[in-house]
Amino acid sequence: MIRLEHVTKTYPKASRPSLDDVSVSIEKGEFVFFIGPSGSGKSSIIKLLLHEMAPNRGKVVVNNKDVTSIRGWSISKFRRTIGCVFQDFRLLPNRTAYENVAFALEVIGKSKAVARRVVPEVLELVGLGGKEHRYPHELSGGEQQRVAVARAFVNRPLILLADEPTGNLDPDTSIEIMRLLDRINRTGTTVVMVTHDSNIVNQMRRRVIEIEGGRIVRDQARGVYG
């Protein structure tokens, strides 16, 4: 499903690479944590998987496609197969929960009828039934993140990338979000989550890949934060 082969990424003007000869393979339906201190290079992995940047060396393969070779129009098509959740939610403030989720469908050319059918369903799934018409500022942090998860999941992506999704949330809310991601994972969606929240990692007992100084120092099935 996801394969990094000897990937090296050095940012311009950086003295050392943020990813140094990293090779990792993630199977379909897995739930994987990338952990490590700030600046260890774990967020770079998300950017590589989204084709927001290209590696200096090595190959990034997602859904059997060499991401580095995707060009132009295909990049946007490729991104439709990946859902994304971030620490800062990235919701549109002038749109309701429903509209935020529907926006994701609208901009990839789905009709309003499709949105009317699918959006309430997915909002129900993330536990926001009844709050469809609230604006982001009328929702709590946890609820906003649920909207973001709903938006990421509404296209039924094969992969869900989560970049510190609980970074702005209190522990109880974080656990609720994790339960949600777990549920999504159980539908067969591969979940890749970057975090440094040790509680969560320890509770979930899933595959843990630890990165330090741009290198993988640990790759453990059913691991803990350590």
């Binding site: 991104r79 994304c84 990235r90 990839i108």
Partner: protein, 335 residues
Amino acid sequence: MRAKYVLTEVFVGLWRNVTMTIAMIITMAVSLTMLGASLMLYLQVGDMKDWYYDKVQVSVFLTSDISDQQRADLKTRLETDPAVQKVFWESKEQAYERFKQQFRDLPDLVKSIGPDSLPESFRVTLKDPNQSTAFKTALEKAAGLDTTATTDDGTAASPSADPSASPSGGTGTTTATTAAGDTKPIAGIKQVVDQKKLLEKIFSIIGSVQSMALIVSVAMGIAALLLVANTIQVAAYSKRREVAVMKLVGASNWFIQAPFVLEAVFAALLGSVLAFLALVAGKVFLMDGSLSDLNQILTPLSWGRVLLMLPIIALIGGLISSITGWVTLRAYIKK
């Protein structure tokens, strides 16, 4: 549905930066007016050149002491010349009448000139008006006039003295031999004037006005272009959240960029309509209004030509702003 989305975005976007939008429209309008005006001037001058150059005559002014025999000889010579189409004789009286008519607004000048002070002349129409300079040179040579001494003609020295004589000068010499017939100088010619020389002076002045208008319109065009680039960047910045989310969920670049580009195109089209109205106003109030007296000199500006400007400036304005918008956004969205 998507078209509706895009259109809504366009008008919301234009309204959000309404001052910028107005500035963009005005700059577009002014630069396209300049462009349209200089384009029309260009076409018009082309017409005028054709019209005037076709009517170029060579005036052969005669000396006041010319005898009837000499005049008749000269007339025959000119009429038998193969390069000549028509010869018209203007008497002193006719010249005086024409002078009075031309300068009727300046009675003092007319009074100072007596009916006798204007020379009689032959007006020679050539088969090929472009040959007028060569014809004049040849005739002057045949008449024994020193061409280098005439002030209005610096180009044609006598061919024998000038090794770099142009080919047209060469044909002119041939014409001269046929015109002169023998080596004896033609008597009774005072001066030969080639109207083409005068026209060339006028057209070179018009030409520099033309290039000035063109330079101004290009400068305005660059200003409009930069303004479009700036406006679009401001618009893109004000919608950066939407753009980020769109990229995230896999909206195509076309879908992200289209509303911004259409904003710019819409402003450009509005600008070109304003520019067109300005050109129409220019025709009504200037060409047909206060400058209508000039219609004797200028070939009249047709409505068809003014109408032709609308698609041209709309196309140019639309293309410039859409290309600028697209390029600006590509650079902006890639960040």
